[in-house]
C-alpha cells in the first residue's frame, strides 16, 4: 500500500475528528484575528508558533524540559523502587500486609497536593522537596498495583508450584512476579503519568530553578500568554507520549493474558 492510500484511509476514517479540530482552529484564528479577545488574553496561532520557535532557539524550552525530566526520573526512581518493594512484601507475606496496610491506607487518603506545604516546611523549596513530592506521588500507584498483581496470581498456580516443590525464591521468580507483571506495568504507567503532572505542580509552587512548570508560571506572571500556550502544548504532548509508550509496553507484556482469556 502506498503512502497516499494510507493517508486517504486515515482521512476517510478520521475525518470527523479532523473537521472538529479544523473548526476549532478556525474559530481560534478568527477570534484572535478580529481581536474579539485581546492578544493579551488569547495569543493568535502565529504568535504561538513564533513563541515556539523562540523558546526552542533560545534553548529555554530544552533546558526547562530537561530539568523537569531529570526531577521526574529521580523522584520516580525512588518512589517506584520503594513502592515495588513494599508491594512485593505485602503481596507475599500476610504479616507484612497486616503491619503496613493500615499505615499506607491512612497516608493514601491525603490528597497528593496536600503534601506540598508540609514538604516545603520540611525540605525547603529546592530540589529535595520537589523530588520527595514526586516520590510520594509515584509510590502509591506502584505499591497498589504490585500488591494487587501478586494477590491476583491464582491459587491454582501456586498449587502447581507446590506439587513441583518450588522453593520460595523459585516460586517468586517463576510464578508470582511474572504473574503480576501486567499489573505492575500498569502501575508504572500510572505513576509515570502522576509524576509528570506532579512535577508541574511542584514547580509552580516552589518556583526556583528551571523547569517546564517554572517556564509556564513565569510566562503567566509576565503576561506572555504565547509562551504559556507553548508550555501547555508541550506538557500535553509529553503526557500523551508517556501514556502511549507505557500503554504499548503494557499491552506487549500482557499479551499472554489476553490470549489466555
Amino acid at each position: 500500500m502506498s503512502i497516499t492510500t494510507n493517508v486517504a484511509t486515515f482521512i476517510r476514517t478520521r475525518y470527523h475528528g479532523l473537521v472538529s479540530f479544523l473548526a476549532l482552529f478556525i474559530v481560534w484564528s478568527a477570534v484572535s484575528h478580529y481581536e474579539l479577545v485581546s492578544a493579551e488574553y488569547l495569543p493568535s496561532p502565529p504568535a504561538v508558533a513564533k513563541a515556539f520557535v523562540k523558546v526552542i532557539k533560545s534553548g529555554q524550552l530544552g533546558v526547562s524540559l530537561g530539568s523537569s525530566l531529570v526531577r521526574i526520573a529521580e523522584g520516580f526512581f525512588i518512589g517506584t523502587t520503594l513502592g515495588f518493594l513494599f508491594g512485593v512484601a505485602m503481596g507475599v507475606s500476610a504479616t507484612a500486609e497486616r503491619l503496613f496496610a493500615p499505615l499506607f491506607n491512612a497516608l493514601r487518603q491525603v490528597p497528593i497536593i496536600g503534601w506540598i506545604p508540609l514538604i516545603i516546611v520540611w525540605c525547603g523549596i529546592n530540589e529535595p522537596s520537589k523530588i520527595s513530592f514526586i516520590s510520594i506521588g509515584a509510590f502509591f500507584p506502584i505499591l497498589l498495583s504490585t500488591f494487587e498483581g501478586i494477590r491476583s496470581v491464582s491459587k491454582s498456580y501456586l498449587e502447581v508450584a507446590q506439587v513441583f516443590e518450588y522453593n520460595r525464591i523459585k516460586l517468586l521468580r517463576k510464578i508470582v512476579v511474572p504473574g503480576a507483571v501486567p499489573n505492575i506495568v500498569s502501575g508504572i504507567r500510572l505513576s509515570m503519568g502522576t509524576s509528570w503532572l506532579l512535577v508541574v505542580w511542584a514547580e509552580i509552587n516552589t518556583r526556583s530553578a528551571y523547569g517546564i512548570g517554572d517556564l509556564l508560571s513565569s510566562a503567566g506572571d509576565g503576561k506572555k500568554p504565547d509562551i504559556a500556550f507553548v508550555c501547555i502544548i508541550v506538557i500535553g504532548i509529553v503526557a500523551f507520549l508517556i501514556n502511549e509508550l507505557f500503554g504499548h509496553l503494557e499491552a506487549r507484556l500482557s499479551t499472554w493474558r489476553k490470549s489466555y482469556r
Binding site: R98, L216, G236
Partner: protein
Amino acid sequence: MKIQLLKNKLTGLIIPLVLYVAWDLLSRYELVPSTLMPPPKVLFETWWVMQSSGELLLNMKMSLLRVGAGFLVGASSGFLLGTAMGLWKPVEQYLNPVFNFFRQVPVVAWIPFLLLWLGIDEWFKIVFISCGAFIPMTLKTYDGIKNVPASYLEVVRVFEYGWFRLLRTVIVPSALPSIFTGLRLSLSEAWMLVIGAELVAAGEGIGNVMVIARRLFQTDVVLVGVIVIAITGFAMDRLLGLLETRFLGWHRTQNAQ
C-alpha cells in the same frame, strides 16, 4: 476466628504506634527541632485552638463550598458529554477526538491561563475544579455506556423496545457502576484540586491556611491541615461508596460471587 481477627487488626497498629512513640520521644527531647516536628501534644492543642476559634470550620466551609460547586458543574457536564458521546454516533465521531486531545493536558497546566482570564477570585477556583472533575466523569460515563454487553442488547432487540425503554431497562442500569466510579474519581479529583487552587491563589480555604502556616513555619498548623484534608477526603469518598451500595446492590453481590 474472632481472636485471630482481632490479632490481625492489632498487628496493623504496631507500626503507627512505633512511629507515634518515636515521634513523641524525638520531639520531646528536641532531637528534631520542634519547628520541624512539633510533639503530638502540641498538635492536639493546635487543632483544639483552630477548632474552637472557628478558624478551621470557616475555612473548611469555604473549601467545601468550592468543591461542591466545582464538582456539581464538572461532573454534571461530564455526565452529559459522556452520555451524548455514548449514545449518539455523530457526537462521538466529532467530539471524542477533541475530548481525547484536551484530556492529555493535565489541568494544572491551565492555571496561568485561568488566572489570566478569570483573576484569582472564586471564578478561577470553581472553573479549575470543574475542569478536573469533568474529565473522569466524561470518561467513565462514556465507557459505561459503550460497554453495555452486546448479549443484553440482543435480548432486547427481540422484544422490540423503544428508545426510552431500552435506556431505562438496559443501558442506564448497565452503565451505572461505571458512572458511580466516575463520580468517585471526579469528587476525589475535585478535592485535590481545591487544595491546589488554594495553594496557588489566595483567599479563605483550608489550602490557604496551610500556605500561610508554611510561610510562618507553623509546622503544627500544616500538619493539622494535612490530617483534616485526609479525613475529609476519606469521608466524602465513603459517602459516595454508601450511596453506591444503596443503589447498586445487585452489582456488589454479583461481583462477590
